[in-house]
Each structure stands twice: as C-alpha cells, then as structure tokens.
Symmetry: C2
Subunit: 189 residues, 2 copies
C-alpha cells in the first residue's frame, strides 16, 4: 500500500493526460527542478510496478507507434489520496523536504486550495518544531564547535527561516484574499 514519492508523482502526472514513460522522462529532463532521475532504469520499472499493483493501466497507442500510455485506475486514485492524507513524517522534513513541497502541489491540484492550506499549516507546525530544535542546538552544543560547523549550522537556521517565511506568506495571502478569492472563483472559472 505504500507509495514512494516517485510513485505518487507518476500517479499524479498520468491524470493530466495519458502519459508514457518517455513523456515522464522528458518532463524530468526539461524542468530545472531535477528532483527525480530521468533514467529509464528508474522510470520504466516504477511504471511496471504500479501497473502490477493495478494502480495504473496501460494501453498501446492505437496509431501503432511503439508507445505505451498509462492512465490511473480508481485504485490508483485512492492510493494517491491515501498518500496525501498520511501524517507528515518529521524525518522527511530533514531528509526530503522537496517531497513535501511536491505534496503541497499535488494536494492543491487534486483536493483543492483549502486542503492544500490545511497541509501547509501542518507542515509549518512540524517545520517550526524542527527549526527551534536547530536553533537551540546551535546556541548550546554549537559553542564547542569549529567555525565551519557553526557556518553550516547557521545555514541550516537560515534555510529553515526562509521556509517558515514562505509558509507565513502563503497563509497570509490565503487569509487576506478570502473575499477576492470568492470573486475570482465566481468570475473566473
């Protein structure tokens, strides 16, 4: 039942329109975000696994091209939503923060803005706890450290602060634009 981040991203991507492994590779290559490997040895086996688990189904393209297009099954959608609903692993905040950023995007696209903002609030709480721990560590254990270690600690603090600032801006924007948002929704889409 467990999905890797790559699994989740693939399940998300194939929903926009049918995507082949090649499409996904191109996408990973062409964005400078480069979180994931575009190597065939990563993409194709991952797609095959998802198909074996019946979270994806594939069809050969009708125009005879040697090309396999995937789409998400109902189980796939359920699995993806389960992934989005899981509590935030505090460990992920340290080792794979970008996974959580991606999760924010997928949540917004799949579940809408309110759900995404709820996720951001959770994320902010975990990040804040960690940030305070790092600051405390710097101010205590950091005293016995060499200059370079302190520099690195300082960087960690600054990066944490930047992230917290981003959360604040997102939340403020969301709260501040509540009415305007309503109007946009009425006039726009």
């Amino acid at each position: 039942m467990k999905l890797t981040t790559l699994d989740a991203l693939m399940l998300f991507l194939v929903s926009h329109k049918g995507q082949s492994g090649y499409d996904i590779r191109q996408l990973f290559q062409s964005t400078p975000l480069g979180l994931f490997s575009d190597s065939p040895g990563a993409i194709y086996p991952a797609l095959a696994r998802l198909e074996m688990r019946e979270l994806l189904s594939s069809t050969a393209e009708p125009d005879g091209r040697r090309r396999r297009v995937y789409e998400r099954t109902a189980e796939g959608e359920a699995a993806l939503k389960g992934w989005l609903a899981a509590p935030i692993d505090p460990d992920a905040i340290v080792r794979r923060p970008q996974d959580l950023d991606l999760r924010y995007v997928i949540t917004a696209e799949m579940l809408g803005r309110p759900a995404a903002m709820a996720f951001i609030r959770d994320y902010a709480a975990v990040q804040k706890a960690r940030h305070e721990a790092v600051v405390a560590f710097r101010d205590t254990a950091g005293q016995h450290m060499g200059r370079a270690s302190l520099d690195a600690l300082e960087l960690g603090v600054r990066l944490g602060a930047t992230r917290l600032r981003w959360f604040e801006d997102l939340l403020a924007e969301d709260g501040g634009l509540a009415d305007e948002d309503d109007q946009t929704r009425r006039s726009g889409a």
Copy 2:
C-alpha cells in the same frame, strides 16, 4: 575508489578519536541535523565495507569490552582527500545539497580555511548557475502553471537566494578578516 557521503563522513569522524559504530550511531541520533540514518543496518555494514577496502582498520578494545574501535588508514586518508578534491556534481546541488555543506565542514577541518573558501567559491558558482536557471524557468514556463506550482517554484527561488547570501557572507567575512586571520594563526596554533 568511490565513496558515498556516509563513507566520507565516517572516515572523517574516526580521525578525531577512535570511534566505534555505536559512537557514530549516538552521534547521528543526538544531533538534530539527522542527515543520516542511525540504524545498525546502515552503520555496521558501511564500516565493514570500509575495512574490507582497507580504508579503516579496527581493533578490539583492550579492556575486553565488546566494542570495536576504528581508525583511518593512510589509504583511508588518501581516499577522503580524493573525495574532497572531486569536482562538484551539479546534480548534487539539487538532490543532496546537504552533502555539499558537509563537504565544506570536512574540507575546513582537514585541509584548512583557504581550501574551504576555495570550495565555497566553486560551490557558489554552481549554485548561482542553477539559481539563474530556476529563476528563468519561473519567469517563462511558470506562466502556464497553477498557483501551487508557482508557490513551490517561488520557494525554490527563495531557498536558492538564501544559500547564495550565505556564500556571500562567508566570502566577505573571509576577505574582510584577512589580516586578523593572519594574526590569529600566528598567535593561536
């Protein structure tokens, strides 16, 4: 000849004083940096591999305690210095920036401040290139994206800017304190 970041960190750690696998686990647990797993299944096999490669040597503690203390061999030191000398992989800047931060610390401790600052200059150049690519991507392809994707992109830009700012501060501090540094070196060690 290739070292993982965990390999390099272990080679570095055992130099301070003889360290056992347990010591390393404790260290990984007790810092809030938590980049590496403290699980025995990660630590002990890694140490064993390094010993097989003759980059570490281990001795049972003389006091009969069931404890294996490692120290770095000459080959180990050479391998670590080789790791420090390798060119920066631009891919690492995206996927494992913390590895590079760690490399800065190890460089400073093993090769001294001038070498560490030279590394920072290299690091800054690669980071700057990437940062500009992300900014350009946001300002072009970003226009066709949803709000959440833009938010995530914005976060990436801010984090990149924070890092660049850190580089600048390090370099300014280094340049500005050149004389004082000389004095410190003369009077200190």
